[in-house]
């Protein structure tokens, strides 16, 4: 929950398992290698101009790092957190995301950008959808316009619209770009679906979860059959929070959207009825236990029916590398679920004041607009990339089949979902609001507090975190 963009590293892990499916992708990989060489040559020219010798990149996990290390042409790894591109040293600064930590540290660095020595200046930083607006704001002017970097909109024409909404400033100028899309859906346990719904076909399962009423009705049926419909109350949070009608904060007042309130009430009912546990996402117990065939100690009855997540979730969270997991046996299925949503996504911004603008531009362009590199990323990490051409190709080819999903090809679903996402209600306080709201509801679910009391806890926390906003009474 709080840590949405956990797409996180996994990828060491994912890479291992992706090898199994990347076999078919090797052909495309070859082509991208030759494309890569031209890129390297181009870069060698540019490095002769007067630019910095150190490229500082700020990240909160090693997801992007893994991709650059393994896919960016000419990158040479020298240590776990350093590398070389040509004669430029790349320094990765990894800062945990939790509790606004990454942002706080980044803010401090950006504020010191003017006075920092050339080698210490931030060159590239990553942002998430939850707070991207803070950095792509035209007044703040900390992320460079892509047009200033020499990247035109035609370079990015195959990207999905929502990924550009996230990093557009008030004037509509793009100030960042991403290589991935994270349209999410309902990931269900095929064996349980067969037993309770009578089929594990995505279309049949979708019919049983087509809206929230059907979903909660299924929850009751699951309980009767001895299963949990979802592992924790927080599993559905993101689905609701992506479908809000208003931003969290307007004019310094925090308001809880009806959709969010609805989540709290529905989730509480599920907890009280024993349809899900009280564990948290990324928890070590129940939430985790659902990825394995049920055992007596796990406290999840006979198993967990579904999780909500995007493509990275398959690899990173569902323990595909552990042969005992359901994922390793291909026991999951994927369908759209009650409402559309997305989860995560990492955007790349070039910092204003960077002393390596040419390299910044090339890195952004190569990683987010180069079709060959993106195809390679898609096949190597089984990731949904931000390029509709690549996604459509994968949807129609066997290389899009996922072992974890029992051979199902989810790319058509991804394409449809990503095209539908509309992010008009984003705000700069979203990460803190989403984290603290769920933290506060812990007490409500546990039965220690009423909804209103839990809301007060949220109010206190949010005002501490953002002194400029207050919970509307």
């Amino acid at each position: 929950m709080r840590k949405r963009t956990k797409q996180i590293l996994a990828l060491g892990v994912a890479a291992a398992m992706a090898f199994s499916m990347a076999a078919c992708g090797s052909k495309t990989a070859d082509t991208s290698d030759s494309g890569a060489k031209t890129d390297t040559e181009k870069k060698d020219d540019s490095s002769s101009t007067e630019e910095g010798k150190v490229l500082n990149i700020r990240v909160w996990n090693d997801e992007f790092m893994t991709r650059v290390v393994e896919q960016y042409p000419g990158y040479e790894k020298t240590s776990d957190t350093e590398g070389k591109i040509g004669d430029v040293t790349v320094k990765w600064s990894v800062e945990p995301n939790d509790d606004n930590n990454y942002q706080n540290k980044l803010d401090a660095a950006l504020k010191a950008q003017d006075s920092a020595a050339a080698d210490d200046k931030v060159d590239i930083f990553l942002v998430e959808a939850d707070y991207a607006l803070k950095y792509v704001n035209a007044d703040a002017n900390v992320a460079m316009k892509l047009s200033d970097l020499g990247i035109s909109s035609s370079d990015l024409s195959s990207q999905y619209k929502y990924t550009q909404q996230v990093v557009s400033d008030e004037n509509g100028d793009l100030r960042g770009s991403t290589w991935q899309i994270c349209p999410a859906g309902l990931i269900y346990n095929r064996a349980i679906a067969k037993e309770v719904i009578g089929s594990d076909d995505p279309a049949d399962v979708q019919a049983a979860v087509k809206d929230w009423d059907s979903y909660y009705a299924l929850g009751k049926k699951m309980k009767e059959a001895g299963y949990l419909v979802q592992a924790t109350p927080y599993d559905t949070y993101r689905v609701y929070s992506n479908n809000v009608s208003n931003p969290w904060v307007t004019d310094g007042k925090v308001t809880v959207d009806p959709s969010i309130k609805d989540w709290a009430e529905k989730a509480k009912a599920e907890v009280d009825d024993g349809e899900c546990s009280q564990d948290t996402l990324w928890g070590t117990n129940e939430w985790n236990a659902g990825f394995y065939p049920a055992t007596d100690t796990a406290n999840i009855g006979k198993g967990v029916f579904c999780y909500f997540g995007p493509a990275w979730f398959f690899n990173f969270s569902m323990k595909g590398d552990d042969e005992k997991s359901i994922a390793a046996q291909g026991g999951w299925g994927f369908t759209a679920g009650p409402q559309g949503h997305f989860w995560g996504g990492t955007w790349i911004c070039a910092a204003v004041g960077s002393d390596n603008p040419t390299l910044d531009a090339d890195l952004i362009k190569t990683m987010t607009a180069d079709k060959d590199v993106m195809t390679k990323i898609a096949t190597t990490y089984s990731e949904a990339v931000n390029n509709s051409d690549v996604i459509k190709e994968l949807a129609g080819s066997d290389s899009g089949n996922m072992k974890i999903l029992g051979g199902q090809n989810p790319y058509a679903e991804f394409d449809a979902a990503a095209s539908k996402i509309n992010l008009s209600s984003l705000g700069i306080y979203d990460q803190g609001c989403n984290e603290e709201f769920q933290n506060a509801m812990k007490e409500y679910f546990a039965g220690n507090k009423s909804y209103d009391e839990a809301l007060d806890i949220f109010g206190t926390a949010i005002h501490e975190k953002y002194p400029s906003v207050e919970l509307a009474k």
């Binding site: 590293l9 996990n61 990765w92 540290k105 660095a109 990324w282 552990d322």
Partner: protein
């Protein structure tokens, strides 16, 4: 006769009770470190399968994972060593010097100064943290070890300990004699006073080192750069970085990495440390 026998019998029973309680308490103290050791040797998979008292075989693997995670722990340990060593040396040297000033000389305002130093002894560093960070930012000293090391020169606690020790171990007549021989004042301090303070110095070196080594609050607010961080900050990062919870073996190995070197050093020096708590009066 029989009464005396009864009395020694009673003593024996009491002694037995004492030993049992002491052993239980010691076991309680060591229990956590034992589990830590065991769990650091087990893989995530084994850890998920319940608890056992027998070590497993994944110690090296877990440590390997720690060393190759995105948090540079070896760097963290080196940073911690640099900060703690310099802090200990500077703090002890200058605190001894300050104590020497009060102990060996009679000057105007001496009493008032002594009282003042004692009065500021209890100001918690957290209270001045806000202004401190601010000042360090203005002085461009964030991400530097200087704000963590230099302030320890003014350490009232160490000063107090040294002063206490001097009162009982550094007679004025000795200094007088050195002066008669024509030694300079600075020389007298370095050549006469410091050697005589040996035991107190070694005790305070250890205490200052340990408290600097363990310090979390201030370094966390001063150090941003991943390569400048000290071990306690990295521990906190392990705590909040969820993705690492997927490998508990690695988490235990990280804790062991931070804890066991101190335990080993402690066991070697334990005589000095335990004796030193009270050597110069009261510690704190």
């Amino acid at each position: 006769m029989s009464e005396r026998k009864q009395k020694t019998g009673g003593i024996k029973v009491r002694r037995a009770i004492c030993y049992i309680v002491l052993i239980l308490i010691s076991a309680f103290c060591l229990f956590w470190f034992y589990i830590l050791f065991i769990n650091a040797t087990r893989s995530n998979d084994e850890l998920g399968r319940g608890f056992t008292l027998v070590p497993s075989t994944h110690l090296v693997e877990n440590f390997n994972n720690v060393f190759h995670s995105s948090i540079p722990v070896v760097r963290g340990m080196i940073n911690s060593l640099i900060v703690a060593t310099l802090t200990a040396v500077l703090s002890v040297y200058f605190s001894t010097m300050t104590a020497y000033a009060i102990h060996a000389y009679r000057f105007k305002g001496r009493k008032a100064i002594f009282t003042f130093i004692l009065a500021i002894m209890m100001i918690p560093s957290q209270v001045t943290a806000l202004g401190f960070i601010n000042l360090m930012r203005d002085m461009h000293l964030t991400n530097s070890f200087i704000p963590l090391i230099i302030p320890s020169i003014a350490a009232p606690v160490t000063f107090f300990f040294m002063k206490q020790y001097m009162d009982s171990n550094l007679p004025g007549s000795l200094l007088e004699a050195a002066r008669m021989d024509g030694a300079g004042e600075f020389m007298t301090f370095n050549r006469i006073c410091l050697p005589l303070m040996g035991p107190a110095i070694s005790v305070q070196l250890i205490f200052t080192f340990v408290s600097s080594w363990n310090n979390y609050f201030m370094p966390a607010l001063i150090l941003d750069d991943a390569n400048k961080r000290t071990l306690p900050i990295q521990i906190a990062m392990f705590r909040s970085a969820d993705w690492l919870k997927f490998d508990m073996g690695q988490v235990y190995a990280m804790i062991a990495f931070a804890i066991f070197p101190v335990i080993i050093v402690y066991l070697i020096l334990s005589k000095n440390i335990v004796g030193g708590v009270t050597a110069g009066g009261v510690k704190e």
